[in-house]
Structures are given as structure tokens and as C-alpha cells.
């Protein structure tokens, strides 16, 4: 860390822009060091203030189903990025890149690429202006 001050700085700047999610319940619960990608079938998309969340079911190798909940930013932030209250509907196939809570529960935050029914969906960007062109991520 000491040998790479610019990276350290970058990490801090990035974390500073994670705000709309950080606004509630903070960052401490999430493992920011590891992104995971999970595919599944949408069961519910909740457009809510101050946070939205997506529920989907993912089947494991042995057929067991995990019920995932992935949180997004506030409606004003993500609607500026092309998301809406009707972005997802039950039965949609999604592949979600996220960070997961440290305790291993199937709870995450959108963090990176998303595929919806085989097509790219606007990635979740946590910039304070809610503008996808706002360069808040590396």
C-alpha cells in the first residue's frame, strides 16, 4: 500500500463515490476486494426510496436454489444511467457482477457489468451526479 500511493488514492476516491449505497448501512458489511458474477432468474425488482433492489434465484451445480438480493442506488441516480422502474420483470434472465456481504449471505451490491436476457444492460455507476459519463470509476 505504501509503495503505491496513487492506487491507494484511487481506491479512496472510488470509495468516496460509492455514496448512494454508502448512504445507508455503510460500507463495512461488504467485501470490496472481491467481485463475483452470478446468473439467475429475476423474481422481483423493487423501485424504492432511498434504495432499489433486485431479487433473483440462482441454481447451483447440484440444483439447489439461492435467493439473491442485490441492491442498487437511489432512483434519481440510476434512472440517469438508463435504469427504470420497469427494467426487470419476473422471469428475466440476468447475469450480475456484484460485491457480496462479508458474512456470506446471498446479499450484494451491483458493481460492474450486467447482462439482461443475453444483452448488455447499463452498468451500475455510483457517481454522485448519477451521470454515467461522470468518471468516478477507473
Amino acid at each position: 500500500m505504501k509503495g503505491k500511493p496513487s492506487l491507494w488514492l484511487l481506491a479512496l476516491v472510488v470509495s468516496a463515490f460509492a455514496l448512494p449505497l454508502a448512504a445507508h448501512h455503510g460500507n463495512a458489511a461488504y467485501n470490496y476486494d472481491k467481485k463475483i458474477t452470478v446468473s439467475g432468474t429475476v423474481t422481483e425488482w423493487i423501485w424504492a426510496n432511498p434504495h432499489c433492489w433486485l431479487k433473483f434465484d440462482a441454481k447451483g451445480e447440484t440444483g439447489e436454489v439461492t435467493h439473491w438480493v442485490v441492491e442498487a442506488s437511489a432512483p434519481p441516480t440510476i434512472s440517469a444511467q438508463g435504469w427504470s422502474h420497469s427494467s426487470f420483470k419476473p422471469g428475466d434472465q440476468v447475469t450480475v457482477t456484484m460485491i457480496q456481504v462479508k458474512n456470506g449471505q446471498p446479499i450484494g451490491r451491483f458493481e460492474g457489468d450486467i447482462t439482461l436476457n443475453g444483452k448488455p444492460f447499463p452498468p451500475h455507476v455510483g457517481g454522485p451526479s448519477g451521470n454515467p459519463k461522470d468518471e468516478t470509476k477507473p
Binding site: 448512504a23 455503510g26 424504492a48 432511498p50 451526479s129
Partner: protein, 310 residues
Amino acid sequence: MSTRAAFSAILLTALLGSLPLLRAQNAPGTTEEQVKPRSWNSGPPPKKVYAGKKSAPAPRHDLSGIWNAAAEGGVQAKGVLEHPALFPDHPQDDIGEQPDESKIPRPLPYTPSGLAALKGNKPGVGVRAVGPGLVNDPVDFCDPQGFPRMELFEFRVVEITQNKNQVMLLYQFYDNWRVIWTDGRVLPDPKEAEPRWNGYSVGKWADDYTFVVDTVGMNEKTWLDNAGRPHSADLTVQERFHRVDYDTLELTVTINDLKFYAQPWQALNKFVLHRLPDDYDIQEFFCVPSETEDYNKLIGTPASIEAPKK
């Protein structure tokens, strides 16, 4: 034919007559090309859009307009630390390596009672971040942000409008608004007045382009920022809105609470707000208690459970 000529003359006169109005609506330096005209639920453009923009001169005694506070970092997720006056060399630390506030370079001048109050506030972010189950940030429960936190956290877009007696600020975050009286009334004695979330505000023009607002009487239920900085009932706040030019407003916010801080300090220092187009539609941004409760049940609480020790 003569009727048509007369009609054309009337039309031409009307068009020429409306030119000043058209010019006013398209004042130089506005960001209309960045925000789709007359669209709904607009998003504020980022900082780089404003680089090198030329602007018309500031109008006299006029703050009215829709202002972008997000572009220059008004969201301040981790508290007011990133401002150079407080944290000169590096941005904020969110990973909890400095849980002791006193180790922050140039810490705020807490009094012993201020430091004790700080320790009682458990933020979810910043150098004193605690686990999600321990956070006691009132905003997480949809309590009002109160003043001045509304300018020190999630300061996104604010519309300012004024009449002969008032300047009104409509803040996007949690759809909050406040009134600053300019009719010459004096502030109430905060020891007598009913405490308010947003306090009592009066303002006056210090010069043609600088509007100074004094606020007292805030209740003690609010935090100053997202990092859990406290204030007492003795808090008074001074805002200086300086209209630099048509498209730029600078805001300085000075915190004066001698019970909790040994000296006044600036939470915002010439913080820049950029003017948005007059047809910018501010998207609503409520905190909805029932939805927040659902969120807490589904995400907040399960995320707070400690993993079993292996």
C-alpha cells in the same frame, strides 16, 4: 394583400418583441446543450461539462435558479473532511484505519463535550464507520437531515427562488425545503424558540452579489454530516452565497458551536454550484419509511449478522 401585409407586420413585431425574452432564456454559459430541453427527471451534468465555460455577468441581488451542487462533490459521502481547509493532503479514509478522530490531520477543534457527543454518533461511513447493525445515523431511519446537513451531505440539486420577503431553497435530497426571511425580522432567541429541524433563518445582501444568511434554533436530533459530527443546541450557522457570475454561485458555510467546537470552522469554503438550465426538472428523491423498513429487513439486517467463527 394589405391585410396579409398588416398581419406580417404584427407577426414580425411580435417576434422582435420576444427576442429579449429568448435571449434571457438562453443566457450564455448555461448548460442547455447538456440537459435535454423540457425533459423529465433530469440528471445533473458532471464537473467537466463546466470547464472553460464563459458566463454572463452576475445579476444584482439575485440567487434564483436551479443549481447543480453534485458536480463539485456536494454529496460528501464521508463527511466534510475532503475540503482542503480540514484535510489538506488526501481524501477521506473509509476503511476504518483511523477510528480515533484525533488522529486525523488537522482535526476539528472539539471540546470535551463535543468529543463525547461525537463518540455517541455511529456513522456507517468515514473514519469512524461501524458495522451496519450498529449505525445510529438518523437519516438511515428517514429522519430529516435538518440544517446544515442538507448542505453537507447529498447536496445534489437545489432550486433557489425569491420574492420580496423570502429566499426559498428547494433541496432535492429527501425533497426538503427551507425559507430564509429577508423582510427585516430579527432571529428568535434560540433559548425561547421551539427547536426546528431546519432552524430559523434570516438573510440580507452584504453587497450586490453576496447574500449572507444566519440560522439558529436547530434541534439536537440531527448530525452535521454523514460522518457523525455532532452539534449542540448552541449551534449557529452562517451561509455566504456569492454570485460570481450568471452561472456560478459560491457557498461558504461556517459552523459556530462553542459548546462542541472551540472555534468556528468552515464546513464549506467557496463551494461551487453551477447553474442548470431553467427547464431542468428535479427528480423527486424521498426517503420512504415503509420502503426503508423493507430494505432494512431484507438487506440491512441480514447483512449485519456476523459470520459464524470457523
